[in-house]
Protein backbone atom coordinates (compact mmCIF):
# COMPACT_ATOMS: atom_id res chain seq x y z
CA UNK A 1 0.00 0.00 0.00
CA UNK A 2 1.51 3.33 -1.04
CA UNK A 3 1.58 6.38 1.16
CA UNK A 4 -1.20 8.03 -0.87
CA UNK A 5 -3.39 4.95 -0.59
CA UNK A 6 -2.80 4.78 3.15
CA UNK A 7 -3.84 8.41 3.52
CA UNK A 8 -6.94 8.07 1.37
CA UNK A 9 -8.11 4.89 3.03
CA UNK A 10 -7.42 6.23 6.49
CA UNK A 11 -9.59 9.22 5.62
CA UNK A 12 -12.29 6.74 4.68
CA UNK A 13 -11.85 5.10 8.11
CA UNK A 14 -10.50 1.87 6.66
CA UNK A 15 -9.17 -0.12 9.57
CA UNK A 16 -6.59 -2.00 7.52
CA UNK A 17 -5.16 1.32 6.35
CA UNK A 18 -4.76 2.47 9.94
CA UNK A 19 -2.97 -0.76 10.72
CA UNK A 20 -0.69 -0.26 7.75
CA UNK A 21 -0.04 3.31 8.85
CA UNK A 22 1.07 2.09 12.25
CA UNK A 23 3.20 -0.66 10.76
CA UNK A 24 5.03 1.59 8.30
CA UNK A 25 5.69 4.66 10.38
CA UNK A 26 6.09 3.34 13.92
CA UNK A 27 9.91 2.90 13.89
CA UNK A 28 10.49 6.45 12.67
CA UNK A 29 7.96 7.94 15.05
CA UNK A 30 9.39 5.92 17.90
CA UNK A 31 12.75 7.44 17.15
CA UNK A 32 11.24 10.93 17.42
CA UNK A 33 9.62 10.09 20.71
CA UNK A 34 12.84 8.67 22.13
CA UNK A 35 14.73 11.79 21.10
CA UNK A 36 12.30 13.98 23.04
CA UNK A 37 11.51 11.82 26.00
CA UNK A 38 14.96 10.33 26.45
CA UNK A 39 13.41 7.18 27.87
CA UNK A 40 12.04 4.27 25.90
CA UNK A 41 9.25 3.54 28.31
CA UNK A 42 7.93 7.12 28.16
CA UNK A 43 8.54 7.15 24.43
CA UNK A 44 6.26 4.14 23.91
CA UNK A 45 3.49 5.89 25.78
CA UNK A 46 3.97 8.98 23.67
CA UNK A 47 4.03 6.95 20.48
CA UNK A 48 0.67 5.49 21.35
CA UNK A 49 -0.68 8.92 22.27
CA UNK A 50 0.67 10.32 19.01
CA UNK A 51 -1.12 7.71 16.96
CA UNK A 52 -4.42 8.43 18.68
CA UNK A 53 -4.01 12.08 17.74
CA UNK A 54 -3.06 11.11 14.21
CA UNK A 55 -6.17 8.93 13.90
CA UNK A 56 -8.42 11.69 15.13
CA UNK A 57 -6.86 14.36 12.94
CA UNK A 58 -6.29 12.39 9.77
CA UNK A 59 -9.04 14.30 7.97
CA UNK A 60 -7.19 17.54 8.58
CA UNK A 61 -4.14 16.47 6.63
CA UNK A 62 -4.31 18.33 3.34
CA UNK A 63 -1.27 16.94 1.56
CA UNK A 64 0.32 20.36 1.38
CA UNK A 65 3.51 19.04 2.90
CA UNK A 66 5.24 15.74 3.48
CA UNK A 67 3.03 13.25 5.26
CA UNK A 68 6.00 12.03 7.23
CA UNK A 69 6.78 15.54 8.42
CA UNK A 70 3.17 15.93 9.47
CA UNK A 71 3.41 12.72 11.48
CA UNK A 72 6.69 13.83 13.04
CA UNK A 73 5.21 17.15 14.05
CA UNK A 74 2.31 15.47 15.77
CA UNK A 75 4.68 13.15 17.61
CA UNK A 76 6.91 16.08 18.62
CA UNK A 77 4.02 18.21 19.86
CA UNK A 78 2.57 15.25 21.74
CA UNK A 79 5.87 14.76 23.55
CA UNK A 80 6.17 18.46 24.23
CA UNK A 81 2.68 18.55 25.64
CA UNK A 82 3.51 15.76 28.01
CA UNK A 83 6.74 17.43 29.05
CA UNK A 84 4.91 20.69 29.64
CA UNK A 85 2.51 18.85 31.92
CA UNK A 86 5.54 17.90 33.96
CA UNK A 87 6.58 21.55 34.03
CA UNK A 88 9.98 20.76 32.62
CA UNK A 89 12.45 23.47 33.36
CA UNK A 90 13.60 24.90 30.13
CA UNK A 91 15.35 28.01 31.26
CA UNK A 92 18.14 26.36 33.14
CA UNK A 93 21.86 26.02 32.72
CA UNK A 94 23.70 22.78 33.27
CA UNK A 95 26.94 23.55 35.04
CA UNK A 96 28.07 20.23 36.32
CA UNK A 97 28.73 17.57 33.76
CA UNK A 98 31.47 15.04 33.27
CA UNK A 99 33.10 15.49 29.87
CA UNK A 100 36.01 13.16 30.59
CA UNK A 101 37.16 10.96 27.76
CA UNK A 102 35.18 7.92 26.86
CA UNK A 103 36.35 4.66 25.45
CA UNK A 104 33.60 4.76 22.84
CA UNK A 105 34.39 6.26 19.45
CA UNK A 106 32.28 6.71 16.36
CA UNK A 107 32.08 8.74 13.19
CA UNK A 108 29.78 11.68 12.51
CA UNK A 109 27.58 9.70 10.20
CA UNK A 110 27.24 6.90 12.70
CA UNK A 111 23.51 6.99 13.44
CA UNK A 112 23.61 5.36 16.81
CA UNK A 113 26.54 7.51 17.91
CA UNK A 114 24.90 10.81 16.94
CA UNK A 115 21.64 9.84 18.55
CA UNK A 116 23.55 8.78 21.64
CA UNK A 117 24.94 12.31 21.84
CA UNK A 118 21.48 13.85 21.42
CA UNK A 119 19.98 11.58 24.03
CA UNK A 120 22.78 12.46 26.37
CA UNK A 121 21.98 16.15 26.22
CA UNK A 122 20.20 17.44 29.31
CA UNK A 123 16.48 17.61 28.69
CA UNK A 124 16.15 21.41 28.43
CA UNK A 125 18.96 21.51 25.87
CA UNK A 126 17.68 18.46 24.07
CA UNK A 127 14.25 19.92 23.54
CA UNK A 128 15.52 23.11 21.93
CA UNK A 129 18.17 21.26 19.96
CA UNK A 130 15.63 18.78 18.60
CA UNK A 131 13.13 21.44 17.69
CA UNK A 132 15.60 23.80 16.04
CA UNK A 133 18.21 21.58 14.44
CA UNK A 134 16.20 18.48 13.58
CA UNK A 135 12.58 19.58 13.25
CA UNK A 136 13.51 22.91 11.73
CA UNK A 137 11.35 25.17 13.90
CA UNK A 138 12.31 28.81 14.30
CA UNK A 139 13.10 30.35 17.68
CA UNK A 140 9.81 32.20 17.52
CA UNK A 141 7.89 28.95 17.02
CA UNK A 142 9.86 27.20 19.74
CA UNK A 143 9.16 30.05 22.13
CA UNK A 144 5.45 29.76 21.42
CA UNK A 145 5.42 25.98 21.73
CA UNK A 146 7.31 25.89 24.99
CA UNK A 147 6.02 29.03 26.63
CA UNK A 148 9.45 30.55 26.85
CA UNK A 149 11.03 33.67 25.47
CA UNK A 150 12.80 33.74 22.15
CA UNK A 151 16.00 34.79 23.86
CA UNK A 152 15.76 31.76 26.12
CA UNK A 153 15.43 29.53 23.10
CA UNK A 154 18.53 31.07 21.52
CA UNK A 155 20.52 30.78 24.72
CA UNK A 156 19.58 27.16 25.24
CA UNK A 157 20.45 26.32 21.65
CA UNK A 158 23.89 27.91 22.05
CA UNK A 159 24.48 25.92 25.23
CA UNK A 160 23.20 22.75 23.56
CA UNK A 161 25.54 23.15 20.61
CA UNK A 162 28.49 23.81 22.90
CA UNK A 163 27.65 20.67 24.79
CA UNK A 164 27.34 18.71 21.54
CA UNK A 165 30.83 19.86 20.58
CA UNK A 166 32.13 18.77 23.98
CA UNK A 167 30.42 15.42 23.60
CA UNK A 168 31.89 14.99 20.14
CA UNK A 169 35.30 15.45 21.69
CA UNK A 170 34.43 13.10 24.51
CA UNK A 171 33.51 10.35 22.11
CA UNK A 172 36.36 11.21 19.74
CA UNK A 173 33.99 11.51 16.79
CA UNK A 174 35.67 11.12 13.46
CA UNK A 175 34.75 13.61 10.78
CA UNK A 176 34.31 11.56 7.64
CA UNK A 177 32.90 14.39 5.48
Amino acid sequence: MTETEIIQKCKAYDKTAFKELVRVYSPALMSVCVRYMGDRHFAEDMLQESYIRIFNNILQYEAKGSFKSWLFRIAATTCLKELRKKQVIVDSEITDYDFSDSNETFTLDDESGILKIIEELPLPYRLVFNLYVIEGYSHQEIAAMMDIGESTSRTQLTRAKKMVRDLLLKYKVQMTH
Binding site: Y13, K15, F18, K19, V22, R23, S26, P27, A28, M30, S31, V34, R35, G38, R40, A43, E44, L47, Q48, Y51, I52, F55, N56, I58, F72, L83, R84, K86, Q87, V88, I89, V90, D91, S92, E93, I94, T95, D96, Y97, L108, D109, E111, I114, L115, I118, P122, L123, N130, V133, I134, G136, M146, D147, I148, V164, H177
Partner: protein, 468 residues
Protein backbone atom coordinates in the same frame (compact mmCIF):
# COMPACT_ATOMS: atom_id res chain seq x y z
CA UNK B 1 25.94 24.37 10.04
CA UNK B 2 27.23 21.40 8.18
CA UNK B 3 27.20 19.39 11.35
CA UNK B 4 23.61 20.43 11.94
CA UNK B 5 22.69 19.25 8.47
CA UNK B 6 24.25 15.83 8.98
CA UNK B 7 22.74 15.44 12.38
CA UNK B 8 19.31 16.32 10.97
CA UNK B 9 19.65 13.80 8.15
CA UNK B 10 20.76 11.07 10.49
CA UNK B 11 18.03 11.80 13.01
CA UNK B 12 15.29 11.87 10.37
CA UNK B 13 16.41 8.58 8.90
CA UNK B 14 16.91 6.85 12.18
CA UNK B 15 14.38 4.24 13.18
CA UNK B 16 13.84 2.55 16.50
CA UNK B 17 12.37 -0.95 16.53
CA UNK B 18 8.89 -1.25 17.94
CA UNK B 19 6.81 -4.23 19.03
CA UNK B 20 4.18 -3.71 16.37
CA UNK B 21 1.66 -6.31 17.54
CA UNK B 22 1.60 -4.93 21.04
CA UNK B 23 1.32 -1.38 19.76
CA UNK B 24 -1.51 -2.19 17.37
CA UNK B 25 -3.27 -4.12 20.08
CA UNK B 26 -3.29 -0.96 22.17
CA UNK B 27 -4.28 1.28 19.27
CA UNK B 28 -6.98 -0.80 17.65
CA UNK B 29 -9.74 0.29 20.05
CA UNK B 30 -8.94 3.90 19.20
CA UNK B 31 -9.38 3.57 15.46
CA UNK B 32 -12.17 6.00 14.57
CA UNK B 33 -15.38 4.69 13.13
CA UNK B 34 -17.46 6.17 10.38
CA UNK B 35 -19.02 9.28 11.78
CA UNK B 36 -22.72 9.21 12.11
CA UNK B 37 -24.93 11.96 13.31
CA UNK B 38 -25.67 11.53 16.90
CA UNK B 39 -29.36 11.60 17.68
CA UNK B 40 -28.70 13.57 20.83
CA UNK B 41 -27.62 16.57 18.79
CA UNK B 42 -30.69 16.37 16.58
CA UNK B 43 -32.87 16.28 19.66
CA UNK B 44 -30.94 19.16 21.09
CA UNK B 45 -31.67 21.36 18.09
CA UNK B 46 -35.25 20.17 17.87
CA UNK B 47 -35.97 21.09 21.46
CA UNK B 48 -34.23 24.44 21.04
CA UNK B 49 -36.19 25.35 17.95
CA UNK B 50 -39.43 24.22 19.57
CA UNK B 51 -38.83 26.40 22.59
CA UNK B 52 -37.98 29.44 20.50
CA UNK B 53 -41.10 28.86 18.41
CA UNK B 54 -43.17 28.56 21.55
CA UNK B 55 -41.73 31.82 22.83
CA UNK B 56 -42.50 33.58 19.58
CA UNK B 57 -46.00 32.16 19.60
CA UNK B 58 -46.51 33.49 23.10
CA UNK B 59 -45.19 36.87 22.08
CA UNK B 60 -47.37 37.29 19.04
CA UNK B 61 -50.41 35.62 20.46
CA UNK B 62 -50.43 38.03 23.34
CA UNK B 63 -50.66 40.93 20.97
CA UNK B 64 -54.18 40.00 19.95
CA UNK B 65 -56.79 42.33 21.38
CA UNK B 66 -60.13 41.44 22.75
CA UNK B 67 -62.71 43.79 21.39
CA UNK B 68 -64.92 45.16 24.06
CA UNK B 69 -68.37 46.50 23.59
CA UNK B 70 -70.69 48.02 26.06
CA UNK B 71 -74.16 49.24 25.52
CA UNK B 72 -75.70 51.46 28.01
CA UNK B 73 -78.60 53.70 27.18
CA UNK B 74 -80.84 54.30 30.10
CA UNK B 75 -83.26 56.86 28.78
CA UNK B 76 -85.69 58.93 30.57
CA UNK B 77 -87.97 61.36 28.80
CA UNK B 78 -89.69 64.14 30.50
CA UNK B 79 -92.32 65.82 28.37
CA UNK B 80 -93.17 69.41 29.11
CA UNK B 81 -96.47 69.57 27.32
CA UNK B 82 -99.68 67.72 27.61
CA UNK B 83 -101.40 66.15 24.71
CA UNK B 84 -103.65 68.43 22.67
CA UNK B 85 -106.91 67.33 21.23
CA UNK B 86 -107.04 65.00 18.31
CA UNK B 87 -107.65 65.99 14.71
CA UNK B 88 -109.13 64.32 11.66
CA UNK B 89 -107.04 66.03 9.05
CA UNK B 90 -105.25 63.12 7.50
CA UNK B 91 -103.37 64.75 4.57
CA UNK B 92 -101.85 67.32 6.86
CA UNK B 93 -100.91 64.48 9.08
CA UNK B 94 -98.79 62.91 6.33
CA UNK B 95 -96.93 66.13 5.76
CA UNK B 96 -96.37 66.50 9.40
CA UNK B 97 -94.90 63.04 9.58
CA UNK B 98 -92.32 64.02 6.99
CA UNK B 99 -91.49 67.19 8.88
CA UNK B 100 -91.12 65.25 12.05
CA UNK B 101 -88.76 62.81 10.38
CA UNK B 102 -86.60 65.65 9.12
CA UNK B 103 -86.49 67.18 12.54
CA UNK B 104 -85.54 63.93 14.09
CA UNK B 105 -82.78 63.27 11.58
CA UNK B 106 -81.46 66.76 12.09
CA UNK B 107 -81.32 66.21 15.81
CA UNK B 108 -79.59 62.91 15.32
CA UNK B 109 -76.98 64.46 13.10
CA UNK B 110 -76.32 67.26 15.53
CA UNK B 111 -76.01 64.87 18.41
CA UNK B 112 -73.60 62.67 16.55
CA UNK B 113 -71.41 65.53 15.45
CA UNK B 114 -71.35 66.88 18.94
CA UNK B 115 -70.24 63.56 20.34
CA UNK B 116 -67.51 63.21 17.76
CA UNK B 117 -66.19 66.63 18.59
CA UNK B 118 -66.05 65.81 22.26
CA UNK B 119 -64.18 62.61 21.65
CA UNK B 120 -61.70 64.23 19.33
CA UNK B 121 -61.06 66.96 21.86
CA UNK B 122 -60.51 64.44 24.60
CA UNK B 123 -58.09 62.58 22.43
CA UNK B 124 -56.09 65.69 21.74
CA UNK B 125 -55.97 66.59 25.38
CA UNK B 126 -54.81 63.16 26.40
CA UNK B 127 -52.30 63.01 23.62
CA UNK B 128 -53.39 59.56 22.80
CA UNK B 129 -52.62 57.41 19.90
CA UNK B 130 -55.45 57.22 17.36
CA UNK B 131 -58.53 55.84 18.95
CA UNK B 132 -60.95 53.68 17.12
CA UNK B 133 -64.46 54.68 17.87
CA UNK B 134 -67.51 52.63 17.20
CA UNK B 135 -70.63 54.57 17.71
CA UNK B 136 -74.08 53.28 17.84
CA UNK B 137 -77.11 55.38 18.14
CA UNK B 138 -80.43 54.60 19.47
CA UNK B 139 -83.51 56.71 19.72
CA UNK B 140 -85.63 55.90 22.59
CA UNK B 141 -88.00 58.48 23.72
CA UNK B 142 -91.35 57.91 25.24
CA UNK B 143 -94.11 60.22 26.04
CA UNK B 144 -95.45 60.41 29.50
CA UNK B 145 -98.80 61.51 28.22
CA UNK B 146 -101.77 59.31 27.58
CA UNK B 147 -103.53 59.87 24.31
CA UNK B 148 -107.30 60.24 24.17
CA UNK B 149 -109.42 57.64 22.50
CA UNK B 150 -110.05 59.92 19.52
CA UNK B 151 -106.46 60.38 18.65
CA UNK B 152 -105.64 59.44 15.08
CA UNK B 153 -103.22 56.61 15.05
CA UNK B 154 -100.35 57.02 14.69
CA UNK B 155 -100.53 60.36 16.24
CA UNK B 156 -97.31 60.31 18.18
CA UNK B 157 -93.73 60.13 17.02
CA UNK B 158 -91.01 59.27 19.35
CA UNK B 159 -88.14 61.60 19.62
CA UNK B 160 -84.70 60.42 18.47
CA UNK B 161 -82.19 62.03 20.72
CA UNK B 162 -79.40 59.60 20.90
CA UNK B 163 -76.81 58.60 23.47
CA UNK B 164 -73.88 56.82 22.17
CA UNK B 165 -71.67 54.02 23.19
CA UNK B 166 -68.02 54.43 22.43
CA UNK B 167 -65.56 51.60 22.25
CA UNK B 168 -62.09 52.88 22.69
CA UNK B 169 -59.10 50.69 22.15
CA UNK B 170 -55.58 51.84 22.48
CA UNK B 171 -52.24 50.18 22.40
CA UNK B 172 -49.32 52.19 23.53
CA UNK B 173 -45.74 51.53 24.19
CA UNK B 174 -44.95 55.09 25.04
CA UNK B 175 -45.29 56.49 28.47
CA UNK B 176 -46.90 59.61 27.15
CA UNK B 177 -49.75 57.58 25.80
CA UNK B 178 -50.88 56.65 29.23
CA UNK B 179 -54.62 57.02 29.57
CA UNK B 180 -56.00 58.27 32.79
CA UNK B 181 -59.56 57.26 33.39
CA UNK B 182 -62.04 59.99 34.25
CA UNK B 183 -62.09 59.52 37.94
CA UNK B 184 -65.57 60.71 38.69
CA UNK B 185 -67.16 58.62 36.00
CA UNK B 186 -65.11 55.51 36.19
CA UNK B 187 -66.90 52.31 36.73
CA UNK B 188 -64.03 49.90 36.48
CA UNK B 189 -65.13 46.60 35.22
CA UNK B 190 -61.89 45.11 36.41
CA UNK B 191 -62.46 43.40 39.68
CA UNK B 192 -58.94 42.63 40.65
CA UNK B 193 -57.67 44.07 43.83
CA UNK B 194 -54.12 42.97 43.53
CA UNK B 195 -51.67 44.52 41.24
CA UNK B 196 -48.93 42.77 39.58
CA UNK B 197 -45.84 43.80 38.00
CA UNK B 198 -43.07 42.07 36.41
CA UNK B 199 -39.58 42.11 37.26
CA UNK B 200 -36.85 40.61 35.35
CA UNK B 201 -33.41 39.75 36.14
CA UNK B 202 -30.94 38.03 34.15
CA UNK B 203 -27.73 36.48 34.77
CA UNK B 204 -24.43 36.81 33.20
CA UNK B 205 -21.26 35.08 33.23
CA UNK B 206 -17.99 35.72 34.76
CA UNK B 207 -14.45 35.41 33.83
CA UNK B 208 -11.88 33.81 35.99
CA UNK B 209 -8.27 34.19 35.38
CA UNK B 210 -6.83 31.68 37.68
CA UNK B 211 -3.85 30.10 36.06
CA UNK B 212 -2.96 26.83 37.57
CA UNK B 213 0.70 26.87 38.16
CA UNK B 214 2.18 23.86 39.67
CA UNK B 215 5.83 23.36 39.96
CA UNK B 216 7.26 19.98 39.42
CA UNK B 217 10.90 19.92 38.74
CA UNK B 218 12.01 17.33 36.31
CA UNK B 219 15.59 16.64 36.99
CA UNK B 220 17.65 14.08 35.34
CA UNK B 221 19.83 12.19 37.68
CA UNK B 222 22.88 12.74 35.59
CA UNK B 223 22.81 16.52 36.00
CA UNK B 224 22.51 19.04 38.70
CA UNK B 225 20.20 21.80 37.67
CA UNK B 226 20.74 25.25 39.06
CA UNK B 227 19.32 28.67 38.35
CA UNK B 228 15.92 27.13 37.90
CA UNK B 229 13.01 29.10 36.54
CA UNK B 230 9.59 27.66 36.18
CA UNK B 231 7.87 27.84 32.85
CA UNK B 232 4.27 28.47 33.69
CA UNK B 233 1.31 27.89 31.44
CA UNK B 234 -1.89 29.92 31.60
CA UNK B 235 -5.08 29.07 29.82
CA UNK B 236 -7.83 31.63 29.45
CA UNK B 237 -11.13 31.57 27.70
CA UNK B 238 -14.04 33.91 27.30
CA UNK B 239 -17.50 33.10 26.07
CA UNK B 240 -19.76 35.70 24.51
CA UNK B 241 -23.34 34.60 24.63
CA UNK B 242 -26.85 35.74 23.82
CA UNK B 243 -30.10 34.10 24.68
CA UNK B 244 -33.80 34.39 24.04
CA UNK B 245 -36.84 32.67 25.37
CA UNK B 246 -40.00 33.07 27.34
CA UNK B 247 -41.03 33.15 30.96
CA UNK B 248 -43.95 32.70 33.26
CA UNK B 249 -45.15 34.70 36.24
CA UNK B 250 -46.47 33.55 39.55
CA UNK B 251 -47.89 35.85 42.17
CA UNK B 252 -48.29 35.29 45.85
CA UNK B 253 -49.57 37.53 48.53
CA UNK B 254 -48.01 38.25 51.86
CA UNK B 255 -49.66 35.34 53.64
CA UNK B 256 -48.83 33.00 50.80
CA UNK B 257 -52.40 32.97 49.66
CA UNK B 258 -52.54 32.41 46.00
CA UNK B 259 -54.00 35.19 43.97
CA UNK B 260 -55.25 32.92 41.31
CA UNK B 261 -58.48 33.99 39.72
CA UNK B 262 -57.48 37.55 40.21
CA UNK B 263 -57.92 39.58 37.09
CA UNK B 264 -54.46 40.83 37.62
CA UNK B 265 -53.02 37.54 36.49
CA UNK B 266 -54.65 38.06 33.18
CA UNK B 267 -53.81 41.71 33.07
CA UNK B 268 -50.02 41.38 32.85
CA UNK B 269 -48.81 38.91 30.31
CA UNK B 270 -45.19 37.85 29.85
CA UNK B 271 -43.70 38.46 26.45
CA UNK B 272 -40.11 37.91 25.40
CA UNK B 273 -37.02 37.36 27.46
CA UNK B 274 -33.57 38.36 26.18
CA UNK B 275 -30.08 38.02 27.60
CA UNK B 276 -26.53 38.89 26.64
CA UNK B 277 -23.32 38.40 28.51
CA UNK B 278 -19.78 37.16 28.80
CA UNK B 279 -18.32 34.43 30.92
CA UNK B 280 -15.34 32.22 31.44
CA UNK B 281 -14.81 28.86 32.97
CA UNK B 282 -12.02 27.15 34.78
CA UNK B 283 -11.44 23.47 34.91
CA UNK B 284 -11.67 22.01 38.37
CA UNK B 285 -11.13 18.41 37.43
CA UNK B 286 -11.53 16.10 34.51
CA UNK B 287 -15.29 16.55 34.41
CA UNK B 288 -16.06 19.48 36.69
CA UNK B 289 -15.88 23.12 35.67
CA UNK B 290 -16.66 26.39 37.39
CA UNK B 291 -18.23 29.04 35.24
CA UNK B 292 -18.99 32.63 36.02
CA UNK B 293 -19.36 35.98 34.31
CA UNK B 294 -21.63 38.93 33.88
CA UNK B 295 -25.02 38.84 32.23
CA UNK B 296 -27.67 41.36 31.29
CA UNK B 297 -31.29 40.30 31.06
CA UNK B 298 -34.47 41.96 29.99
CA UNK B 299 -37.97 40.70 30.56
CA UNK B 300 -40.85 42.33 28.74
CA UNK B 301 -44.47 42.17 29.79
CA UNK B 302 -47.65 43.72 28.55
CA UNK B 303 -50.42 44.81 30.80
CA UNK B 304 -53.89 45.04 29.34
CA UNK B 305 -56.43 47.19 31.10
CA UNK B 306 -60.07 47.82 30.28
CA UNK B 307 -62.49 50.14 31.90
CA UNK B 308 -65.79 51.94 31.16
CA UNK B 309 -66.63 55.58 31.61
CA UNK B 310 -70.28 56.34 32.20
CA UNK B 311 -71.11 59.97 31.50
CA UNK B 312 -74.56 61.19 32.44
CA UNK B 313 -76.03 64.01 30.44
CA UNK B 314 -79.30 65.70 29.72
CA UNK B 315 -80.30 66.79 26.28
CA UNK B 316 -83.00 69.28 25.44
CA UNK B 317 -85.14 69.02 22.35
CA UNK B 318 -88.35 67.79 20.83
CA UNK B 319 -89.48 64.79 22.70
CA UNK B 320 -92.90 64.37 21.15
CA UNK B 321 -94.90 65.55 18.21
CA UNK B 322 -98.58 65.62 18.85
CA UNK B 323 -101.13 65.71 16.09
CA UNK B 324 -104.60 66.75 16.97
CA UNK B 325 -107.85 65.71 15.35
CA UNK B 326 -107.66 68.47 12.78
CA UNK B 327 -104.22 67.34 11.72
CA UNK B 328 -102.41 70.09 13.48
CA UNK B 329 -99.11 69.01 14.90
CA UNK B 330 -97.27 70.51 17.72
CA UNK B 331 -93.85 69.74 19.13
CA UNK B 332 -93.52 68.88 22.71
CA UNK B 333 -90.24 70.22 24.11
CA UNK B 334 -88.55 68.32 26.84
CA UNK B 335 -85.35 66.88 28.13
CA UNK B 336 -83.92 63.44 27.87
CA UNK B 337 -81.54 62.06 30.46
CA UNK B 338 -79.09 59.48 29.24
CA UNK B 339 -75.68 57.97 29.75
CA UNK B 340 -72.77 57.78 27.37
CA UNK B 341 -70.57 54.79 27.95
CA UNK B 342 -66.92 54.95 26.96
CA UNK B 343 -64.99 51.69 27.01
CA UNK B 344 -61.26 52.12 27.06
CA UNK B 345 -58.77 49.36 26.55
CA UNK B 346 -55.14 50.21 27.19
CA UNK B 347 -52.02 48.16 26.74
CA UNK B 348 -48.85 48.96 28.54
CA UNK B 349 -45.43 47.43 28.13
CA UNK B 350 -43.12 47.05 31.09
CA UNK B 351 -39.42 46.29 30.91
CA UNK B 352 -37.49 44.67 33.71
CA UNK B 353 -33.73 44.95 33.44
CA UNK B 354 -31.14 43.16 35.45
CA UNK B 355 -27.39 42.65 35.59
CA UNK B 356 -26.35 39.47 37.31
CA UNK B 357 -23.34 37.41 38.22
CA UNK B 358 -24.18 33.76 37.74
CA UNK B 359 -21.89 31.21 39.34
CA UNK B 360 -22.39 27.80 37.86
CA UNK B 361 -20.91 24.40 38.33
CA UNK B 362 -20.75 22.40 35.12
CA UNK B 363 -20.41 18.68 34.76
CA UNK B 364 -19.07 17.18 31.57
CA UNK B 365 -21.70 14.64 30.68
CA UNK B 366 -20.35 13.46 27.35
CA UNK B 367 -17.21 14.16 25.43
CA UNK B 368 -16.25 13.29 21.90
CA UNK B 369 -13.48 14.58 19.74
CA UNK B 370 -15.29 17.77 18.81
CA UNK B 371 -18.37 17.84 20.97
CA UNK B 372 -19.02 18.20 24.65
CA UNK B 373 -22.26 18.11 26.54
CA UNK B 374 -22.55 19.65 29.98
CA UNK B 375 -25.22 19.87 32.58
CA UNK B 376 -24.95 22.84 34.88
CA UNK B 377 -26.54 24.43 37.86
CA UNK B 378 -25.81 27.25 40.21
CA UNK B 379 -26.77 30.53 41.74
CA UNK B 380 -27.54 33.95 40.31
CA UNK B 381 -26.44 37.00 42.23
CA UNK B 382 -28.10 40.17 41.14
CA UNK B 383 -25.82 43.17 40.86
CA UNK B 384 -28.31 45.70 39.58
CA UNK B 385 -31.97 45.76 38.68
CA UNK B 386 -34.33 48.35 37.34
CA UNK B 387 -37.65 48.51 35.64
CA UNK B 388 -39.95 50.90 33.88
CA UNK B 389 -43.49 50.52 32.76
CA UNK B 390 -46.80 50.27 34.50
CA UNK B 391 -48.81 48.18 36.86
CA UNK B 392 -52.43 47.85 37.72
CA UNK B 393 -53.30 49.35 41.06
CA UNK B 394 -55.84 47.91 43.41
CA UNK B 395 -58.49 50.32 42.18
CA UNK B 396 -58.06 49.04 38.68
CA UNK B 397 -56.09 51.93 37.31
CA UNK B 398 -52.93 51.64 35.33
CA UNK B 399 -50.08 53.31 37.16
CA UNK B 400 -46.94 54.19 35.34
CA UNK B 401 -43.45 54.33 36.78
CA UNK B 402 -39.89 54.67 35.66
CA UNK B 403 -36.46 53.74 37.03
CA UNK B 404 -36.63 56.43 39.69
CA UNK B 405 -39.89 55.32 41.28
CA UNK B 406 -39.71 51.64 40.50
CA UNK B 407 -41.92 49.97 43.12
CA UNK B 408 -40.25 46.57 42.92
CA UNK B 409 -37.68 45.19 45.29
CA UNK B 410 -35.86 42.37 43.52
CA UNK B 411 -34.48 39.49 45.50
CA UNK B 412 -30.74 39.39 45.15
CA UNK B 413 -30.55 35.66 44.80
CA UNK B 414 -31.88 33.25 42.22
CA UNK B 415 -30.87 29.97 40.73
CA UNK B 416 -30.42 28.45 37.34
CA UNK B 417 -29.77 25.17 35.60
CA UNK B 418 -29.56 23.75 32.15
CA UNK B 419 -27.80 21.75 29.55
CA UNK B 420 -25.14 22.96 27.17
CA UNK B 421 -23.53 21.68 24.04
CA UNK B 422 -20.13 22.86 22.88
CA UNK B 423 -18.80 22.23 19.43
CA UNK B 424 -15.10 22.79 18.78
CA UNK B 425 -15.08 24.48 15.41
CA UNK B 426 -11.45 25.49 15.45
CA UNK B 427 -8.54 25.14 17.78
CA UNK B 428 -9.39 28.44 19.44
CA UNK B 429 -13.09 28.77 18.77
CA UNK B 430 -16.01 26.84 20.19
CA UNK B 431 -19.66 27.21 19.36
CA UNK B 432 -21.77 26.95 22.48
CA UNK B 433 -25.49 26.43 22.62
CA UNK B 434 -27.81 25.30 25.33
CA UNK B 435 -31.11 25.41 27.10
CA UNK B 436 -31.36 27.11 30.46
CA UNK B 437 -33.88 27.62 33.19
CA UNK B 438 -33.68 30.58 35.57
CA UNK B 439 -35.73 31.42 38.60
CA UNK B 440 -35.84 34.74 40.39
CA UNK B 441 -38.35 36.81 42.31
CA UNK B 442 -39.26 40.33 43.32
CA UNK B 443 -41.67 41.99 45.65
CA UNK B 444 -43.94 45.01 45.68
CA UNK B 445 -46.05 46.52 48.41
CA UNK B 446 -49.36 48.24 48.09
CA UNK B 447 -51.68 49.21 50.86
CA UNK B 448 -49.99 47.00 53.40
CA UNK B 449 -50.12 44.00 51.11
CA UNK B 450 -46.90 42.48 49.86
CA UNK B 451 -47.12 40.85 46.50
CA UNK B 452 -44.31 38.52 45.57
CA UNK B 453 -43.80 37.73 41.94
CA UNK B 454 -41.71 34.78 40.82
CA UNK B 455 -40.30 34.59 37.35
CA UNK B 456 -39.50 31.26 35.79
CA UNK B 457 -37.72 31.71 32.52
CA UNK B 458 -36.63 29.35 29.79
CA UNK B 459 -34.17 30.34 27.14
CA UNK B 460 -32.11 29.06 24.28
CA UNK B 461 -28.51 30.20 24.33
CA UNK B 462 -26.10 30.75 21.50
CA UNK B 463 -22.52 31.73 22.15
CA UNK B 464 -18.95 31.53 21.01
CA UNK B 465 -16.01 30.71 23.23
CA UNK B 466 -12.56 31.94 22.44
CA UNK B 467 -9.60 30.17 23.96
CA UNK B 468 -6.38 32.09 24.29
Amino acid sequence: MEQDKYIRQIAEQHETPVDFEQLWGNLEPHVPQKKRRRPVFIWFWTIGIALVSLGLWFMFDNQKTNPMASNTQPNEVVSNNSLPKSSNNVPEFTNLINEVSQTINQNKSQTLNSQNNVIEAENKIKNEAPIRINQTKKLNTQSNNILSENTISPNTQKSDIAFETKNVETENNNKTAFITPIASQVHPNITNDILIVEDENRANEVVHFLPIISTQIFRENRFQSENIKVASKKNYNIRLQVGAGFFTLQHKTQNNASVENSQFLHAEQPLEYLTAGASTDIKLSHRWYLQSGLRYSRYTTRLTNEYNDYTSSTKQGVTEIIIDESGFASNVQGSVNGTTTTNTKSKWHSYYHSVDVPITIRYLLANTHKHKIFIDGGAIFQVWAGSEGGFLSSNGQLQKYDFANNPYRPDRFGYSGGIAWEWNLTRRGTLATGLSYDWRSMERSEGGLNIKTSISSYRFNLGYRINF
